[in-house]
Amino acid sequence: MGRRTILPFGPQHPVLPEPIHLDLILEDEVVVEAVPSIGYIHRGLEKLVEKKDFQEYVHVAERICGICSFMHGMGYCMAVERTMGVKVPERAEFLRTVWAELSRVHSHLMWLGLLADALGFESLFMHCWRLREYVLDIFDMTTGGRVIFSVCKLGGVRKDISRETMMKILDTFDKIEGGIKEITRVFTADASVSHRLTGLGALTGEDARSLGAVGPMARASGVGEDARAAGYAAYPYVKFGVQTDTAGDCMARVKVRTGEIFEAIGIIRQCAELMPDGPTDTKVTGFPSGEAFARLEQPRGEVLYYVKGGGTKFLERFRVRTPTFANLAALLEMLKGVELADVPALVLTIDPCISCTER
């Protein structure tokens, strides 16, 4: 047995865009245990529902996390709409699906870039982020914002996407799909990337289930769960495959996520075809009362919203269970027995979103 050292990792660390602190207990160069301490981004926004009007709170919900901002707003709206019995118009459901899938494409491209950066592959990082800019341009064109666009509201959406704009979006994807295929090829076939990722941090399907992993993490270990398949918004109308892999290592997670980018583009294409005409929102009157859950699939995995209203304009309770929180337990388990040099890549493959986790 070697000498034990404790190495602090974070809260400010070059590989982490967000602060999380891990105490890595090392035996020589190998991690034996990782002890997390969190709270650097804790704001306490769940309690803010008691001070902010439930309609106004959509904006706060969108700022739980700036990466999957749209989906947070959408999840909150879905939960509140359920307590109030609001039926969202079909066109709004399709528009929500389009923006949600665009968010997935942008989030996965961003993550691929960050992973490349963590591996020291700068040019690949640049390529991923260059392609991501096209998606942000679509957001800019359709909503006016690049990352946070406050387009979801209770009872529908604030903006419409015209047929011409939709065609432009599809043209953009025709243009960048080749580029995404190219980076996928680099990630899966390049010897240096494969050397860093293959076999690293393998998680068995059984472990993934018992540790409660969600999203691409669980799917890479062969647990084929996807909240979209349960059917919300316009997902029952479109066809898509649930991407899974069996290896459970970092490379499998890359493959699952790149596969999901193409699935998401496929969903957007189908939505463009199937989108019915009609209103994009419905009037919401009254106050929420009672409890409701909403469950949806974010880029990082399944997220759960709970709201409880008491018939006033302030909700009584709001709770989010975010995907990174669910995946942290699996990460701590995977870190055991990993070389210190592999820790950054492994931490990144869960696609950590600390501001979701700590809220």
Binding site: P11, P17, E18, G44, R63, I67, V147, S355
Partner: protein, 134 residues
């Protein structure tokens, strides 16, 4: 054409932001905005940094981290607060764990507006901060 007097090295720290401004700070590095053409590099080491870019507000847990990072940076140095949260606490101002803007912890030289701040605005803020570290 005017030349910048210095090629600043930038240290980015996420206070308690929602990630929106963070990814826009990182977007400054991508080929479209390419802040590296000014010689600016995103460094992870406070001892190498000239400009501290902080996104998000100050809370009970991170105030000591922010102060420490600022103290570790050599003089001359500048602080750029990115986004409304970094200016005042923004939308999270009334949350129980919030202290307020970055100004509560360390002196700020440039405030960049926006929620989320756009990369153009962030680059502009960095260029303005260059005047402070002549």
């Amino acid at each position: 054409m005017k030349y910048a007097k210095k090629s600043p090295w930038i240290l980015h720290y996420d206070g308690s932001s929602c990630n929106g401004c963070d990814i826009e700070v990182l977007a400054c590095l991508n080929p479209l905005f390419d802040i590296e053409r000014f010689g600016a590099i995103n460094t992870g080491n406070p001892k190498h940094a000239d400009i501290l870019l902080i996104t998000g507000a100050i809370n009970e847990q991170n105030i000591s981290v922010v102060k420490q990072l600022y103290e570790q940076m050599p003089n001359p140095k500048a602080v750029v607060a990115v986004g409304v949260c970094a200016a005042t606490g923004g939308i999270f101002k009334d949350c129980y764990n919030m202290i307020g803007g970055v100004g509560e912890a360390i002196p700020v030289d440039v405030y960049v507006p926006g929620c989320a701040s756009r990369p153009e605005a962030i680059i502009d803020g960095v260029v303005k901060a260059l005047d402070k570290i002549k």
